[in-house]
Amino acid sequence: MDDPRYKALAYYERLVLQIKQDVVQGVRAPGEKLPSVRDMAKAVQLNPNTVAKAYKVLEAQGVIEVRPGLGTFIGPQTAATGEEKRRVRPAFDAAVVSAKAAGVTHMELESWLNAHFEEGQA
């Protein structure tokens, strides 16, 4: 939650990114149970409605799944679906265009990308 890159975002968006990052880094494994909204809210000291909103977003994006009566679980992280890829592509393109307009070179972009992929493997 304290990642400085996400500080300008709403709390629910930060929590969404944090959980995605946990999944990407293997901190949370597919099929693993997530804390209930209440326990997560207490752990991160956020309003429960904010946590519930983050969970809803993650569920809609297929990152987590709610099994009625059992709780919330990290979804199976098979290769991203085509739909999911199509959804994130415009945001990526927009970021690259802005970066290029700001004078970021191909090399720099590549090193930024690499930094993301190396994260968690260290």
Binding site: K7, A8, L9, A10, Y11, Y12, E13, V37, R38, A41, K42, Q45, L46, N47, P48, N49, T50, K53
Partner: protein
């Protein structure tokens, strides 16, 4: 359960402290109440529980006017930590008084809350440190099994661990959806993230109510530097300047749309960086005028 305050007004010693004050608050919701010192936060809380009779207006719970149905007040609890009647009582005795006033008072819950914080029932309230007194007040609030709980400066002067204990208790109670909290506090960092909505009290009335998460997804706080000393029109028209230091402008844009973003980019800033938007920034923008005029 829903509390509705309509057109509340209260004059104390010739000074109009509250006027035309309206708001609603319901269970499942954490509402923050902020304002400058002396803005009337405590007066509002006292008026809500009828410790002060309102001069005008009414407070209703689920449509029942508390002036006509005073028994509905049992759905509300307000313990002013600075003005308690039980300073000289021991913790067991205090619970008897609250059990008399609140029929669903849960003695077991009270005892277990105190035990969790190593508070013996034989201690007198007045002998306890400020932090432990705050925990006793919270234990009374929770054990009273009341849906709508008013907290007045619940974090004031407390250490990190006691603050966390109180925040977690609030979250725990609200998550079940059966309780709501109205929290008056100067601790904006603590309210940020905790409150669903924050009410700004100014000149005796609610001047602004903000849903923080919504504001954060619509607004932006930017740090801007332009090549010339001229501040572009878009900054003044669409933003509120929070601070200027040399050529570095910090501004809040309540509606940070793609149009605003494009206009700012067109002004060719040397630096344009998005900063975290906190409740303190909104507080600053709301009360900035009052500071200048003393």
């Amino acid at each position: 359960m829903k509390l509705t305050a309509q057109h509340l007004a209260k004059t104390i010693a010739g000074k109009q402290v509250l006027s035309q004050l309206d708001f609603t608050w319901q269970t499942g919701e954490i509402v923050g109440l902020v304002g400058r010192n002396g803005a009337g936060k405590t007066t509002l809380m006292r008026t809500l529980v009828d410790q002060y009779h309102a001069d005008h207006g009414q407070v209703a719970i689920d449509g029942r006017n508390l002036a006509e149905a005073p028994q509905a007040r049992q759905n509300l609890i307000y313990i002013d930590p600075t003005e308690v009647f039980f300073t000289r009582m021991n913790l067991a005795k205090i619970a008897q008084y609250y059990a008399a006033g609140y029929p669903h008072f849960d003695q077991n819950r009270y005892r277990s809350l105190l035990a969790a914080n190593d508070l013996p029932l034989t201690k007198r309230y007045g002998e306890l440190s400020k932090g432990y007194q705050a925990l006793v007040v919270m234990a009374l609030n929770l054990a009273s099994a009341v849906p709508l709980i008013l907290l007045d400066e619940p974090f004031d002067g407390l250490d990190l661990f006691i603050r966390e204990t109180i925040v977690k208790a609030v979250i725990e109670e609200v998550a079940a959806g059966e309780r709501g909290f109205l929290i008056a506090s100067h601790d904006l960092a603590e309210l940020d993230g905790l409150a669903d909505r924050v009410l700004f009290l100014k000149r005796g009335t609610i001047s602004r109510a903000v849903a923080l998460e919504q504001v954060r997804s619509e607004a932006a706080k930017l740090q801007l530097v332009f090549a010339t000393n001229q501040i572009p029109a878009v900054v003044r028209d669409r933003g509120q300047i929070l601070n200027i230091q040399g050529r570095v402008i910090t501004a809040l844009f309540p509606a940070y749309t793609s149009v605003v973003k494009a206009a700012l980019t067109a002004a060719q800033p040397v630096l344009m960086e998005v900063l975290p938007l906190s409740l303190s920034d909104l507080f600053r923008s709301e009360y900035a005028g009052e500071v200048r005029h003393g």
